[in-house]
Symmetry: C2
Subunit: 338 residues, 2 copies
């Protein structure tokens, strides 16, 4: 009987998670039940929202209990089907365990076509992050020609796509990112007008004055915290803010404090809207088709940062909070069979 490795939530993190947060256990490879498939993991996605599931608090994603297997979006290969409606060898995506192998109901798996784009993109530019950028930009932030569009976490899986979609609409696009290499990616590959390396910048407000001299019409927020404070101070009349993520705050154990900015909304008549990509699920296929088309024509640039080995998945996750990734952070767990 083959062995399966999988990660459990070992303990709830107190502040920033670390290696002790995760426990790697070994077990027999599970058997698929009726209607289920056994899937061998090829790529596993680590995402900032997972930090919320480690917390013992109700939110939009159900919290994990201590001892629960961690879950992630996975692209894998069907190795056994027990009436799941998939062929052995077929490539699929789904929310599975952080493991070498996992079972899933056939209805919880989506086919992945390897002819369209590299299969890893089903977790990034053609997956949840790409769709988050797509709907967040087009349906929530709504940049218009001539607008100045600012995105934080700009070199991440969501931010880099959001900025490019904003650019399509004719906006001036400014991105905050955490290294010169990321800024180069934004300006040279993604067509951003200006990238700001915030780790190299003492005064975000002054950096914005220079990068967005006409103020900010639209802000796509992935990070929260001090970058967001600076952007709020520059909001123009009728500005729109799409709140997508707050990664700068996810490791805080108590609610962090910051300047009260609602008064700025009165003056600017700005609108701030939080959103979850899941609310757009009826339109996921449409979005994925559009994103795939842009990727295939080269209109949409993307990057992936791939960590090798399931045993390094915790580090890949922890690296998100250090900004170690450019584009989508993935873990490569297995090779496709020949």
């Amino acid at each position: 009987m083959a062995t399966n490795r999988k990660y459990l939530l070992s303990q709830r993190p107190d502040g920033t998670p670390n290696r002790e947060t995760f426990e790697l256990v070994e077990e027999d490879v599970p058997e698929p039940g009726a209607g289920e498939a056994l899937v061998r993991t090829l790529y596993l996605s680590v995402d900032p929202y997972m930090r919320g599931r480690m917390r013992d608090a109700e939110s939009y994603a159900e919290p994990w209990d201590v001892g629960d297997p961690l879950q992630a979006a996975v692209v894998g290969e069907v190795v056994e089907s027990n009436g799941a409606g998939f062929e052995v060898g077929q490539l699929v995506a789904g929310n599975l365990e952080w493991a070498d192998y996992a079972t899933a109901s056939g209805s919880a798996l989506q086919p992945v076509n390897p002819d369209h784009a590299p299969i890893s993109t089903a977790l990034g530019v053609l997956g949840m992050p790409g769709r988050t950028a797509y709907f967040g930009t087009r349906e929530v932030a709504e940049p218009k020609a001539g607008d100045t569009f600012v995105v934080s976490g700009a070199a991440g899986a969501v931010g880099s796509v959001a900025g490019q979609i904003a650019k399509q609409s004719g906006a001036r696009v400014v991105g905050f990112a955490g290294s010169d290499e990321k800024v180069e990616f934004l300006e040279d590959e993604c067509g951003f007008d200006v990238g700001i390396n915030y780790k190299d910048t003492d005064d975000y407000g002054a950096a914005l004055d220079s990068a967005a001299p006409d103020g900010v019409d639209v802000y796509f927020d992935n990070v929260g915290g001090e970058i967001t404070d600076a952007v709020f101070s520059k909001l123009n009349v009728d500005a729109r803010v799409a709140v997508c993520g707050q990664i700068a705050l996810y490791n805080e154990e108590s609610v962090p404090m910051g300047p009260r900015k609602l008064g700025k909304l009165i003056e600017s008549r700005a609108q701030v809207q939080g959103f979850l990509v899941s609310d757009f699920s009826p339109r996921f296929e449409q979005a994925t088709r559009q994103l795939a088309k842009w990727v295939s024509t080269g209109e949409l640039a993307y990057r992936e940062t791939v960590t090798e080995g399931l045993e390094n998945a915790p580090d890949a996750f922890l690296g998100l909070f250090e900004g170690e990734n450019i584009g989508k952070q993935l873990v490569k767990v297995g090779e496709r069979s020949e």
Copy 2:
């Protein structure tokens, strides 16, 4: 030659304004220029937004310079017209000086009809505060039947009207106010479902759990600060927040700190929208007509707190920040001529 008293901005307040903020000067009654009227003040309005004009900072309302006459919405009587298009003795409203007499261009004055409602209402329920509540509730906050609608500063000139308009739409209406007398006004005269005396309440969150057991669908914010923090924590999915005022913060000299709440907007997909009533000016007449109809039929309750004498206008203004008023705070400066 008759004497005119008027108030100047004596110095910019450092924190909470006080008597030293104001200087009362005497001068000759001014002469109206061509196209102007001389107006004798009957009622003068003091409003929280005026605190912003005392600050040396750009905002939606132009800052006053030190030595400038203070300005306010005024209802008065035309005592002289120099081609202003008004009759002597006619009642008018306009943005005039804090003074016994002031001149104004005829085009900057609106006629006030004393047969519709007491003339003082042109500064409150039928004036800017009433219209702010009207548009802020109907066009920004948009309560629907079955929603729980929470308003802060609920017994003020705006909040008391906002809650009643929300009630018309079939919402459950909860108001935060600062005394038992105000709570009684809300519950007994304005038809609120629950009034919360926040000065008598240690735990705003617990008070909300009891007053709004199904959470908050719509929040009309007049105050900001800790009450707003508590309400944000209770926002339901798809909640809407209309940011109208932040009186709890207006006397802070540096930007006050508070808990960062944008993450709550993601979870709730809530929308926060700042607004200024001036953006609805093309529809002011419509709103005033509707409000006047509701007042005349008794569907809309209102209160006024009247301070006697121009010399007490500073105290009336300062009292706004202590919550001394129920409903609209006015200063009665003169009597109508027989």
